[in-house]
Symmetry: C2
Subunit: 218 residues, 2 copies
Amino acid sequence: MSANQDSTPAGDVIDIGPALSLRGTRMHFDRNAEIFGEEEPAEYIYRVVSGAVRTIRFSADGRRQILAFHMPGDVFGVEIGGAHSCTAEAINACEIVMVRRSLLEKAASEDVRAARQWLELTGQDLRKAQDHTLILGHKGAGERVAAFLLRFADRLARGADVELPMSRADIADYLCLTIETVSRALTELERRCAIALPTSRHVVMRSRSALMQLEAAA
Amino acid sequence: MSANQDSTPAGDVIDIGPALSLRGTRMHFDRNAEIFGEEEPAEYIYRVVSGAVRTIRFSADGRRQILAFHMPGDVFGVEIGGAHSCTAEAINACEIVMVRRSLLEKAASEDVRAARQWLELTGQDLRKAQDHTLILGHKGAGERVAAFLLRFADRLARGADVELPMSRADIADYLCLTIETVSRALTELERRCAIALPTSRHVVMRSRSALMQLEAAA
DNA sequence: CGGGCGATTGATTGCCTTCAAACGTGGTGG
DNA sequence: CCACCACGTTTGAAGGCAATCAATCGCCCG
């Protein structure tokens, strides 16, 4: 199930594209362990092998904003400048491949195709950040949660059953809500038979169309 | 390489960095004219010579989200994929330099330094998008408006007087508020003597420290 | 002078946050 | 094996803040 060899090369490798495959080392991180910190020099780039990772930033008043969740196969921590612009933490115990950033720099400076693929990776991140802005902008709590579930389920694509690795607090800080509001929204989705919640972390997608309808609602 | 006079070259040139200076043509756009549309093939990249530009996207329910304001000197409309991910409109009458995107592609495929500078440009956009997410996330109306004024004034850096090119509706759609709330927030800032509003578009920054204090407030 | 658009101000509603308490579950030690 | 505690989650009640609805004002332009 999760020990798939198709998207994950046998070796400890980060594949950013056909012309950009870099060898690194595998590391284990415990739950809530910090993988790298904001402002730290960006010495490595990372790929999730198993487990889940969150990237976060803190606003001036100390509140936590989760920028993204990274699931197996995802590359994260790739910076353009010299320092990390956010903190990364393990949501649960996870295996991470680390590649020296200098290898990426070297590849990009020797091969324009590699540079191009790095650019495309950054462009995808930019697009995701803008999509997230749209969700936060003018959507209510229920719509945000519905949108989150749909996207997250699509990324895993394991049928109707989704195992959430993150807590309500993580979801809340991602969607800019409170844990209470997230909980209420999920309960409401269950009441409407859009989802089922056998346990708090286990979501069964009952009706995608109902979720999509709720997501689009003003 | 380029005949660039500080920020506004005499020629119709887009300078992205020392190794990436591209010649194009100058165009005029009227107020509210569309410069390019979402989903359209990205044939050109753009730089503001004079005037102001907004880039926008529409959410599923038809609401308008302004992603960024572009002022003289700013480069915009640079896509990684083949199509524009947003629409660009002239806020007021403006002069725009357009450069064929194929020139950028060619430069990046021939010179790794050019590719690198393109990457850095995209990285800056990503950082700005993330910063914007933080502002929208857990800030109240007054704080958002204060943050907007501070940043915008810093970009123009003409002393205390700032001439806003955009309407209240534009500010509202940028900050994910309503025009009424933006108006109230500005009135409140004036009441507190943080700013003065001789006319609705003319802002005098009276007390930066007061604004910064308000911006940081929970 | 009149029309139209943008901006301001006011009153009310609704949603999310906050504060508070109870619930369930997993882990630990008796 | 069970009691107990800690933590995450759910549920409830009250309040606050921005959206909405609505009206007025000011200004630019014809």
